[in-house]
């Protein structure tokens, strides 16, 4: 069986209810349904998740490393964008 044509999928797993899906890795699969199956076998073998998303890697538009300066640096000195003036109550996880 030739597998050259199997597209790449990016896998996102939600570890528990209330958390968001996090990128965990990628895999090859011929279609979405099998990508989901493969993701279950590769990335949730130890009960790591309660939900899985698979996304065709080709569908992801990513920022380019060359644009790093113009994209991210301007935020560095805008301290008022950060919620640093609030006290975080105790026992509030995942804020």
């Amino acid at each position: 069986m030739s597998t050259d044509g199997w597209p790449l999928w990016e896998v996102f797993v939600r570890a528990k209810r209330g958390l968001s899906h996090s990128h965990v890795g990628s895999l090859h699969a011929p279609d979405a349904e099998l990508a989901l199956h493969n993701a279950r076998d590769l990335y949730t073998r130890r009960q790591e998740g309660v939900s899985i998303w698979v996304v065709p890697a080709a569908s992801i538009t990513a920022s380019s490393p060359e644009e790093k300066d113009s994209f991210f640096d301007p935020a560095a000195d805008k301290v008022y964008r950060h919620p640093t003036f609030y006290d975080v109550p105790e026992d509030v996880e995942y804020l």
Binding site: M1, T3, L27, A29, D31, E33, L34, H37, N38, R45
Partner: protein
């Protein structure tokens, strides 16, 4: 408790041997599957079956009065003492062969373990409930591939058709009742394989139809005797590989 330990033992032994031997066969796919992702998938299924076999052997040691442990059953019995049906032991074929075999065996496991999940033996019921859930996943994996291979290319369709011819002689044995199973059911324990024929093959047929494949063809001969310890040449090689390390170095740990 309905039935008795002596009554349960041969039923548990048959289930355990089915699981162990197929785990060993499936393990052969690691590094040989079409993709590394599929290596993992088949390896996971094999490990599910191995875990199930271990639980069943541990239970069996308390049922048959010998007090044997899981390793005693797996490594220190000879060919004629294994009680699995023939299908899991036949040599590994191509990927279509394996998906066909997996579809049949996992469909059988889903049904028989679901039936056992409500039995009076609490330990066995627990193993069966877990086994039924695991096997639903195994069955789904086989289903996805059979659909894709059957309705895929001319080559994959031809290979699926050949795979169905290859497994056909081994299907009847899956649904043949043994004296032990009949005795169990007479005492209100267990499930007759013959009663599972329709749900299992009905499920399989529906998948094959959806995959644009013909049903499992009639075979000119049928395997039998696996539950009595009558096996094919293939089992000798399988258990030689499975057992040689333990037998060469008894008591070794690592």
């Amino acid at each position: 408790m309905t039935g008795s330990p002596a009554l349960h033992a041969p039923l548990v032994e048959a289930l355990a041997d089915d699981a162990l031997i197929y785990a060993q066969r499936l393990g052969e796919w690691i590094s040989r599957a079409p993709q590394i992702e599929e290596d993992m998938a088949l390896g996971n299924i094999a490990l599910d079956l191995l875990g199930r076999a271990r639980s069943l052997y541990t239970l069996l040691g308390s049922l048959d009065g010998t007090g044997r442990c899981e390793d005693d059953y797996a490594y220190w019995r000879d060919e004629r003492e294994f009680r699995h049906v023939h299908l899991p032991e036949i040599e590994r074929g191509d990927f279509a062969d394996e998906m066909t075999r997996l579809l049949l065996l996992s469909s059988l496991d889903v049904e028989r373990y679901a039936a056992l999940a409500s039995c009076d033996d609490v330990a066995l019921a627990g193993i069966a409930a877990k086994g039924s859930a695991e096997s639903r996943y195994h069955r789904d994996h086989a289903r996805l591939w059979v659909l894709r291979l059957g309705a895929g290319t001319r080559e994959s369709h031809a290979r699926m058709t050949a795979a169905l011819v290859r497994v056909a002689p081994y299907v009847d044995e899956l649904f043949t009742d043994t004296a032990a199973e009949q005795a169990g059911v007479d005492a209100g324990f267990g499930v007759l394989p013959s009663s599972l024929r329709e749900p299992v093959l009905g499920f399989v047929s529906a998948i094959l139809t959806e995959a644009t494949l013909d049903d499992v063809p009639d075979a000119g001969w049928h395997s039998r005797g696996g539950r009595d310890g009558i096996h094919s040449e293939a089992l000798g090689y399988l258990i030689a590989e499975m057992q040689h390390l333990t037998r060469s170095h008894p008591g070794a740990t690592w």
